[in-house]
Amino acid sequence: MSARVLVGVKRVIDYAVKIRVKPDHTGVVTDGVKHSMNPFCEIAVEEAVKLKEKKLVKEVVAVSCGPQQVQETIRTALAMGADRGIHVEVSGKDYETLGPLQVSKILAALAKKEQADLIILGKQAIDDDCNQTGQMTAALLDWPQGTFASEVNIEADKLKVVREVDGGLETIKIKLPAVVTADLRLNTPRYATLPNIMKAKKKKIANVKPADLGVDVSSRLEVLKVDEPPQRQGGVKVETVNDLVRKLKEAGRI
């Protein structure tokens, strides 16, 4: 198969870090905070590499949008088995306001430029939880989409995708080219082993600007305020049923 897969990888604050809101409430503190690849993007990379190992696709290209630091994230994808990377340079204010609409425009443009047959993304990023980029990218390209995938199989020129939906599992067949977004149970991402980390250093990462792709990254959204969720109050233990009724009445619950 001569298929080329484009995988989007996003650099986000590490899952284990305790998030702090900036004192001016315009966002969260990111300076000096540990970042890593979005866990769902890791699953996307793993799936793409697996397809390559099964010889169902020929090349895996990892893409990330952001400042210089996202190159680390692309290197991690390369260490997991991606063949080459594309760094779409977005920095400063543009990066702060970068969201699913602009990213999907970038991915759509790249998919055309690179003649990709398949785009695999994480279902959502753990910082904004938008769950929109995959769907928007498919719409812009007018490609079918298999979202929340927990299983992906290539059958000739079609994709069989098992989707995790509220009611259970839904199996669909979609034509290639297509967009797939990875859900948690699609696979378990491999550790990047040292020989591959060494090899990854030699793999190429191309630099591209959004303007080169004809994409305007200005945002139509304005963040008004960011706040921490309200603190959970401790519960109170009561000794008797009467106490319970009395407390519920006091709290205006009954």
């Binding site: 899952y15 284990a16 540990k34 890593s36 866990p39 550790y191 082993t193 980390i197 060494m198």
Partner: protein, 487 residues
């Protein structure tokens, strides 16, 4: 060379088993009334509630205590001990009950003195990094408290979620960071201890340097609750490193592992914070019982290396140079690296959960040995040959950077014939290489009678004198640490 002295009574069968009960008093209604007045609602006599405090974490020793006391203050501990001393009642101090040598549970009906309600941080100075807290603070809670303030505890061990700092200090716990931050004997700056007769010894200094007289706290550190009950600790805490990396490597021989260690010391130097190993048998158990995945290709030996420093770029550069060196020179056959917290936790859990994986194999015979570093794995291989089919598993893991081996032997159930084959062979082997028969776990109940394999009789006799001076009635944690017969 040390020759073990023959036991004279009671424990010829098994030096690790309990001796006969010493003639302490038994708890009376009047004693209970006293405790209930002193500690209302915190004097536990319900057998169901007592059960978990009567059995050790490994489920290998069980006592018959009928009273569990939960003081909140040093004053309460003082009153408890004053009463017990007058009444000649034996006391078993208990922290998190995670000890591995049967030192933390009663042997007979000793009163359990638990520090679980003495869990307050007293002070923290974020310039000096000196923390003062009560002895019942759980290590992990202290770590979380400090991490919010940009500091860390100087020690870390697998039991962190349950162990108390008082217990750590009274057993001179080692752990995973000793390589970098040293032992509690260096990081503990002061102690508050209640003596057997109830006297409160307040040596809770918060000074880095204080050479005024004999350093009494060193007596209590590692005394396993036999010289006094530690009620508060002041400890020097290091700054939280800005950059932590973990490398997980595979080696095909122990010799290469040792050479990797030398290379590591040379190239990583001051940023090295941990160097741990475990063998392929451990990995199979982790996969089998805990369903953990091996991140790299199967190897005879696995190494966990941690670096901690103040500059991520500097540390990563050093680490990558080191990894390139050990890969190209084939000292290491495979490996992976982690810089993100979630992945770091995952790699560490492989090393930290070996103890847990072993508990699923049946009965575990645990040996915690200090040896010259080159000899560490020889003991494991020798044991395998010596035991043959008698043992189900013979595994080795531990703080190889500190010269400390955890040798574990499993069988489906307790097997006296297997035990007889292991002991005293393992202790004689250790003694021959001038090693320690208990590197960090202490002696507790199980190893008290083996002390002569690692200490001369003059030393043990002096220990006996000190014990007699500080606890003339012998009520503090009897049957533990010192041998049944001191000559």
């Amino acid at each position: 060379p040390l020759k073990p002295h023959p036991q004279r009574n009671g424990s010829e069968r098994n030096p690790g088993a309990a001796p006969p009960r010493l003639p302490f008093s038994r708890v009376t209604r009047e004693d209970l009334a006293f405790f209930r007045t002193l500690l209302p609602g915190r004097t536990i006599t319900d057998p169901d509630l007592l059960k978990s405090s009567n059995v050790d974490w490994l489920k290998t020793v069980e006592g018959n205590s009928e009273v569990l006391l939960r003081p909140k203050t040093t004053e309460e501990v003082s009153q408890i001990l004053r009463h017990c001393n007058e009444r000649n009642l034996a006391v078993c101090p208990q922290g998190g009950n995670t000890g591995l040598v049967g030192g933390s549970v009663p042997v007979f009906d000793e009163i359990i003195l638990s520090t679980s309600l003495m869990n307050q941080v007293i002070t923290f100075d974020n310039i000096s990094g000196i923390l003062t807290c009560q002895a019942g603070c759980v290590l992990e809670n202290l770590s979380n408290y400090l991490e919010e303030r940009d500091f860390i505890m100087p020690l870390d061990l697998g039991a962190k979620g349950s162990c108390h700092i008082g217990g750590n200090v009274s057993t001179n716990a080692g752990g995973l960071r000793l390589l970098r931050y040293g032992s509690l004997r260096g990081t503990v700056l002061g102690l508050e201890v209640v003596l057997a007769d109830g006297r409160i010894l307040n040596c809770l200094a918060t000074l880095r340097k204080d050479n005024t007289g004999y350093d009494l706290k060193q007596l209590f550190i590692g005394s396993e609750g036999t010289l006094g009950v530690i009620t508060a600790v002041s400890i020097l805490c290091p700054r939280k490193p800005k950059a932590v990396n973990v490398a997980f490597l595979g080696c095909s021989s122990f010799q290469q592992l040792l050479e990797t260690f030398q290379c590591c010391r040379g190239m990583l130097g001051e940023i090295l914070s941990a160097f741990e190993f475990f063998d392929a048998s451990c990995m199979s158990l982790l996969e089998k019982h805990l369903k953990l995945t091996n991140p790299i290709t199967e190897s005879p030996f696995y190494i966990v290396i941690e670096t901690a420093g103040s500059n991520a770029t500097h540390d990563e550069e050093k680490l990558h140079k080191f990894l390139e060196e050990v890969m190209t020179s084939s000292l290491v056959t495979d490996g992976t690296v982690a810089t993100e917290a979630t992945k770091i936790k995952a790699l560490w859990s492989l090393r930290e959960r070996v103890t847990e994986a072993l508990t699923h194999e049946g009965y575990t015979y645990k040996y915690d040995i200090s040896l010259p570093v080159e000899k560490i794995y020889d003991l494991v291989q020798d044991m395998r040959g010596h035991l043959g089919d008698m043992a189900k598993n013979v595994v080795g893991y531990g703080h190889v950077g500190d010269g400390n081996l955890h040798l574990n032997i499993t069988s489906p159930s307790k097997d006296p014939a297997l035990l007889a084959a292991i002991e005293p062979y393992v202790y004689e082997w250790t003694s021959e290489w001038k090693g320690s028969i208990s590197a960090e776990h202490g002696l507790g109940l199980k190893k008290r009678n083996y002390i002569y394999y690692s200490k001369p009789s003059e030393a043990v006799a002096l220990m006996g004198s000190i014990k007699a001076m500080l606890d003339p009635k012998g009520i503090l944690n009897p049957y533990k640490t010192l041998p049944d017969n001191i000559h």
